[in-house]
């Protein structure tokens, strides 16, 4: 042990250096804490929060009951009961639609899988409840989440840009592809 190290040992040099660090943090006090319920952090633009079912601007549901979201979901959150639209044998819709949000890991694969953009991820995250059965959401609840999170709705597919997918070519009484 050199003389310098010996002096450092008997004067507790390393401990004093550490104490200087802590006291400098006390003097230059800049907490990184966010007082959560009172102030909330800014969410990133691509934040993946609570899932929601969406509607078109005329209030009809976007979902066509294709079950692709159910197939894409890695956690088996989604359960779709598909059915024909009464009186229109070629059109289908989700008669029942359940999401067990206790299992959801917010990966967003169902949103990517949806061919008609019927699913959306909102920026809601404060969904703590006392009873976990309240997190087994049905179609009405999911639509309500979509209604309050996405007030600006898309037009019906056939009224959008001419190149988007369009399935009802054989039915002349339905709105036609514009232009």
């Amino acid at each position: 042990m050199t003389f310098k190290n010996w002096i450092k040992t008997i004067t507790f040099y390393e401990i004093l250096v550490g104490m200087k660090v802590t006291i400098s943090h006390l003097i230059h006090y800049r907490p990184i804490t966010l007082q959560y319920p009172h102030e909330k952090r800014t969410l990133p633009d691509n934040y993946r929060g609570m899932l929601a079912l969406l509607r078109y601007d005329d209030g009809t549901e976007k979902c066509v009951g294709c079950d692709l979201c159910e197939a894409a979901c890695p956690s088996r959150v989604i359960r779709v009961v598909s059915a024909e639209v009464p009186g229109e044998p070629t059109k289908r819709y989700a008669k029942e639609y359940y999401m067990d949000m206790t299992r959801c890991l917010f990966c967003g694969m169902c949103v990517d899988a949806c061919p008609v953009d019927a699913l959306g991820m909102t920026r809601e995250y404060e969904w703590a409840v006392y009873d976990k059965r309240q997190l087994d959401l049905n179609k009405e609840q999911l639509l309500a989440i979509g209604d309050r999170s996405f007030p600006v709705r898309e037009k019906q597919l056939e009224l959008q840009h001419p190149n988007v997918a369009f399935f009802n070519v054989a039915f002349k009484h339905l709105p036609q592809k514009p232009g």
């Binding site: 401990i15 550490g18 104490m19 802590t22 943090h25 990184i32 007082q35």
Partner: protein
């Protein structure tokens, strides 16, 4: 009213006042420690109860008071109930001999009392050492009677640690006793009057300035051993969270848990008072006399004295928190080696050197 009952009543009033101050200090310390620790770690600490969380000690007290009091199955019920009481009582009665203010006497209803020290006994420091040793029993009993392996390990560690470091505390203060020539804390403090160069940490003779009798090594040994004896980080092996859950009070809940925690803060405050009295001149100001005395308000000098004593005690309490925020926990063999192979020789050498200097340069 007989003189005896009057004396009893006055003493009781004094004790109640002092206990109030000590318990208020404990409550303040629980808040202060969390705040300072948080600030040093770039956090905020308690912020919810009251402005800046100032009512957090009250909320904690109410919460702990109404918590369920659990006695574990297979615990020795009598010992389990006795341990927190023993620890709490022992850490509180040590304050009886601490002089909070100047050594003046006053007459109340015809009897003479010293208002700033409850019991001016002539073996004050010996009394504190004895009381601190009994405090170890509370910890060991609590650890043993809980019927839990973590508690038992914590209690065993506390026993070994307290015995090792109490020796160093006892040896570190011998130098001070040689200089003061008394075991009474009142007289030890009074011997350091007249400026900071007369404090025993500097150790000038009463007629000089040169630190011929300096007790700085004894002071360092005393502070380190005091941290170890109060089971504070970095010597908190008896309650090491990461190894032993909570050590000797793992199985305690509610008010009994609160007793153990309060006892820790009370013994922290006690060793701070002792360190201030022995080494930093207690209630003496770092300059000769008092400012109130110079401006002609001699009857208010006790305010200044008490302020100096409180500031020294709070400096030590802050130092405890500061060390806690800085250092990690020692390993058990490091703790023992440091106590026996480093602290003990320094304390012994300090006694010899102080004895030689006092012999050749008597005070």
């Amino acid at each position: 009213m007989t003189e005896l009952s009057l004396r009893l009543a006055v003493s009781l009033a004094q004790i109640v006042a002092e206990m109030g101050i000590v318990i208020l200090t404990i409550a303040t310390m629980t808040y202060f420690e969390r705040k300072v620790l948080a600030w040093m770690q770039d956090r905020m600490g308690p912020m919810e109860v009251g402005p800046y969380g100032i009512l957090q000690p009250v909320a904690d007290g109410i919460k702990l008071f109404f918590k369920e009091d659990i006695t574990p199955a297979g615990a020795n019920k009598a010992m389990f109930a006795l341990a927190p009481m023993l620890t709490m009582v022992v850490s509180l009665i040590g304050f009886a001999v601490i002089p909070f203010g100047p050594n003046i006497t006053m007459d109340i209803f015809g009897i003479t009392i010293k208002p700033f020290v409850v019991a001016d006994i002539n073996i004050g420091i010996l009394y504190i050492l004895a009381i601190a040793s009994i405090g170890a029993y509370g910890i060991i009993l609590g650890g043993w009677s809980s019927n839990s392996k973590y508690s038992l390990l914590g209690g065993l560690r506390a026993a070994a640690q307290v015995i090792s470091y109490e020796l160093n505390v006892g040896l570190a203060i011998v130098g001070v006793l040689l200089l003061a020539g008394s075991l009474s804390l009142v007289e030890i403090t009074a011997a350091q009057a007249g400026g900071f160069w007369h404090w025993f940490i500097w150790g000038a003779r009463p007629d000089g300035y040169f630190p011929i009798h300096t007790q700085i090594f004894a002071f360092v040994v005393f502070i380190i051993s005091a941290v170890a004896e109060t089971n504070r980080i970095p010597f908190d092996l008896p309650e090491a969270e990461s190894e032993l859950v909570a050590g000797f009070f793992t199985e305690y809940s509610g008010m009994r848990f609160a007793f153990f925690v309060s006892a820790e803060y009370a013994s922290m405050t006690l060793v701070s008072c002792v360190a201030a009295s022995l080494f930093l001149g207690g209630w003496n100001a770092p300059y000769p006399g008092t400012i109130f005395g110079y401006v002609g308000l001699e009857q208010l000098a006790w305010v200044e004295h008490i302020a100096w004593f409180a500031s020294k005690v709070y400096f030590f309490l802050f130092l405890f928190i500061w060390i806690r925020a800085t250092l990690p926990r020692l390993r058990y063999d490091q703790l023992m080696r440091f106590g026996w192979k480093v602290m003990l020789p320094i304390a012994l050498a300090n006694i010899i050197i102080t004895a030689i200097t006092v012999y050749f340069f008597p005070r």
